[in-house]
């Protein structure tokens, strides 16, 4: 009986030794530096000017400030300063490029009779990952100084611990992305708002439903436009 008591005490004491909160070291994921042009210009009128903007993401995938150089592949159609101020010169199509080091992004725009900006709204729809149930549509709009992400009434997501909504440039990871807030409810229409200083309409290409405590993406959606 004495021996069994000793075993019992050792068992209970042993729990204290193994049940402390540990530390997980998360390896930093190194990615290629990228530049992403953020613009809604479709057509620039001859003689008009337009300020292009771009975002730079470093090797950690984090958005950071750096010097970006702008070029036009046809200065006779659209000229552009090194700081991104473009001017329509003659009608035609032109590639505008933004570069920082080896990172580069290009968009094709037109010079025509009128200046036309794309609608300040982007939309997409969710798909579930790893059999998690995530579906529904979303839209991203600018509202004054804010960026507003709206889920449609057909939105549905599996329940999970610590689900958050992110904008990201990766379909399954949130590194370098911006958190829009904790998922308010697992179904139905809902709205998330952040300041435009945190992200702009064209900064990110994906919306993620992400289990932050465990680092698992439940669902993802890419903007269609």
């Amino acid at each position: 009986m004495k021996r069994i008591k000793t075993y019992a005490i050792l068992l209970l004491a042993g729990m204290g030794l193994v049940s402390c909160i540990g530390t997980d070291v998360v390896e930093d994921i190194i990615v290629e530096q990228t530049v992403s042009i953020s613009q809604r210009l479709e057509t620039l009128a001859v003689g008009d000017s337009y300020q292009f903007e771009a975002n730079f993401f470093d090797e950690m995938g984090e958005q950071s400030s750096t010097e970006i150089t702008w070029t036009s592949n046809n200065e006779a159609v659209m000229s552009i300063t090194t700081s991104g101020l473009a001017t329509g010169v003659a009608e035609g199509n032109v590639w505008i490029s933004a570069m920082s080091g080896a990172a580069r992004d290009s968009v094709m725009v037109s010079v025509g009779q009128n200046t036309v900006l794309a609608a300040a709204e982007r939309s997409g729809s969710f798909v579930g990952l790893r059999d998690y149930n995530v579906s529904g549509n979303f839209t991203l709009t600018e509202d004054g100084d804010n960026l507003v992400l709206t889920f449609s009434s057909n939105f549905v997501a599996s329940r999970g611990p610590g689900l958050f909504v992110y904008l990201s440039n990766n379909a399954t990871r949130v590194t370098g992305g911006v958190e829009m807030g904790q998922l308010m409810q697992n179904s139905g229409a809902q709205t998330y708002t952040i300041a435009l200083t945190e992200a702009q309409l064209d900064t990110y290409n994906h919306v993620l439903i992400y289990c932050r405590p465990f680092g698992v993406a439940f669902g993802t959606g890419q903007f269609d436009n």
């Binding site: 075993y7 193994v18 049940s19 997980d24 070291v25 998360v26 790893r130 329940r159 610590g162």
Partner: protein, 284 residues
Amino acid sequence: MKSTNHIILSGLLMLMTSSVFAGGGWPTPKGKGYFKLSQYVLQANQYYSPSGEIIDIATAGIYISSIYGEYGLTDRLGVSAYVPFFSRATLNEQVSSSGTLLAEGDAVNSLGDFDISFKYGLIVNKPIVVSASLTLGLPFGNPSGGSTEILQTGDGEFNVMLSLEASRSFNGGKGYINTLLAFNNRSENFSDELRLGIEVGYNIAPKWNAALKVLSVNSLNNGSDLETPANGIFSNNIEYLAITPEVNYSLNERFGVSGSIGFAASGRRVLARPAYSLGVFMKL
């Protein structure tokens, strides 16, 4: 994280592997009993996703101190209880390799969910014995603990499980085989479960007994992820095939020690690391 969003205690269910087979088809004889003090440890940085794929997660820990007891009220009717009197769930802190704190760790301590079971011998004193059991799962654990409120020491649902067990001994009583068929009716929009199990045990040496337990838990997928009071990632529609080798050593006729390692060979919504259990037991 509202109260409906919590971490899982999928590992907890693995405990059922040991308790659900206790005694097998043989009810505890009148006046006889078996009591066991156990420590259960599961630390997992991998998880079976709903698609069955193993994915990396932040390390979750489950630590349970429990007492299991069974007692024969009559030669046909016995009662048993699983009492996790201390249950702790942890979530490791996350630090980047460059030293940045990404997320703080978390922990919750409380009682766990209790089980009370009644077993009745339907066929006794035959080469093959059969018993039926009614198990009540009592939600005494914390379904939303820790500073993040995502840690659980219980799933927040009351459940009723009906079991049929058939057993026979062989080789002059040195070995035994138990089989299990159980239906677990879960409340609060959790899916019901069908459980199938088999256990083979043998006295491998004087004072030594070894057993191999296999338990398959299958969700009937008749619940709703959107309406369960606890999170859906771990606690609803859990499925796994658990394999648990166990060794028991009798110190004398009344007391002994026990150890087991349980792991899920496959699964969905369940932690994908082995669970370790050590215990001391006493027979009446």
